[in-house]
């Protein structure tokens, strides 16, 4: 019924290469999440701080990250900043772009999570003699991360999906980049990208299931 002959063997023969690409994709996504979470905590603290300029910087970051396309952010991280003579490798550019995006979205989630934690929690900590920082570190932060855990999982999935945008800055070692290179060699577009899609789907499922597992171990209350 189709006017197209599928040649799955051709594409499947390239599976090992694509799996290598998937590893790079995971590497970028995980790194961007770890750095992104750290930055998001920092941004959240900056936004809570009394200092106007610090607040403004954090808010600008969050709003730009949330209100422009991720593709734009990644493109900017490579070609935009290069106008100032700053050069990043494709890997670094992609990592910076995604991390910038992650940090912005996560900071917003964290702010929402903070609102859900009553002030009395900090008060209780302070009255036990804890410093502001101790109260944040031991009482607020763990609760915040718990409330924001689901959004964090979603963001992790998005981070994985966003790695596909790396090709615009010359990335060719991630899953999408590898797939595109293979496509240039063989032109088996449908088969190759279908396999890539399946790999992406499996990765995201592993992430969501893994997150559920972690959540059930981590948050027993």
């Amino acid at each position: 019924m189709f006017g197209y002959t599928f040649q799955w063997n051709q594409a499947l023969a390239r599976l090992p290469k694509m799996l290598d690409g998937a590893a790079v994709t995971m590497e970028v996504a995980v790194l961007s999440m770890l750095i992104g979470i750290a930055l998001a905590v920092l941004l959240t603290l900056l936004r809570l701080s009394g200092s106007r300029p610090l607040k403004a910087i954090a808010t600008t970051w969050v709003e730009i990250a949330r209100n422009t396309p991720a593709l734009f952010q990644i493109y900017m991280a490579h070609f935009g900043v290069a106008s100032f003579g700053i050069h990043f490798s494709p890997f670094t550019s992609l990592l910076i772009g995604i991390t910038f995006n992650n940090a912005g979205y996560l900071a917003e989630n964290f702010r929402g999570a903070l609102k859900a934690i009553p002030d009395t929690q900090t008060r209780a900590g302070r009255s036990l003699g804890m410093s502001q920082l101790q109260a944040f570190r031991y009482i607020i932060l763990p609760q915040m991360l718990r409330i924001a855990f689901l959004p964090m999982t979603n963001q992790m999935v998005w981070a994985v999906l966003m790695t596909s945008l790396g090709v615009t800055v010359g990335m060719n070692t991630d899953l999408y980049g590898v797939t595109q290179d293979l496509n240039a060699l063989t032109f088996r577009t449908f088969e190759l990208f279908a396999i890539a899609a399946v790999i992406f789907y499996i990765i995201t499922k592993i992430i969501t299931l893994g997150a559920r597992l972690i959540a059930s171990r981590l948050f027993r209350y």
């Binding site: 189709f2 422009t68 593709l71 999906l161 899609a197």
Partner: protein, 217 residues
Amino acid sequence: MFHTALTSADLIFLAKGAGMTILVTAISVFIGTLLGIVFGVLRGQLGPIWFAPVTFVLDIFRSVPLLIQLVLANAFVGMVLRLHISGLTVACMVLSLYTAAYCTEIVRGGIHAVPATTRRAARSLGMSWLQDMRYIVLPLATRIALPSWIGLALGVMKDSALVYVVQVTELLKSTQILITRLQEPLFLLLICGAFYFIISFPLARFGGYLEKRWSND
């Protein structure tokens, strides 16, 4: 400010790109939302088990990079089915389903948030299922879902930057074309980013405002 070789013709060219971005977004969000409402309501009626196949399919749209969805849909429609469909149509089809996948969850959440007791009260007054949906669930669920929906619509607008792969020249692609000719990447990128920001930021803020206002009462 900048010395630029940008001509008014180039600005019109950019504006056309922006128009395409808005067109693709508008069509996709419209169709996607309709589908999302249908799926969301159906899910509520059928229950998660019977609805599982649809959930599975919709989940794929949220688990595979949009870029790949577009490339695959394009390849499938043309190479496999041999249908002659414009890139714009493919882009809108994919983005609509992509929107629907997220919108279904939003609609489901909105309906779910209407207390069962309120709906019982409506049915007890003799209202039919449709009347209950129309006069009670719709207005209440809208309040809950609208902020997320605004977020979704803006997300789709930003993601529409990827439809260049199916030969649709939207804003970011137009910008790249001009960069090719004019070699002023930073300046042109800033214009492009500003455009997205100017549309997205106020609406996002508006969504946040609605959320705050409606969560208070």
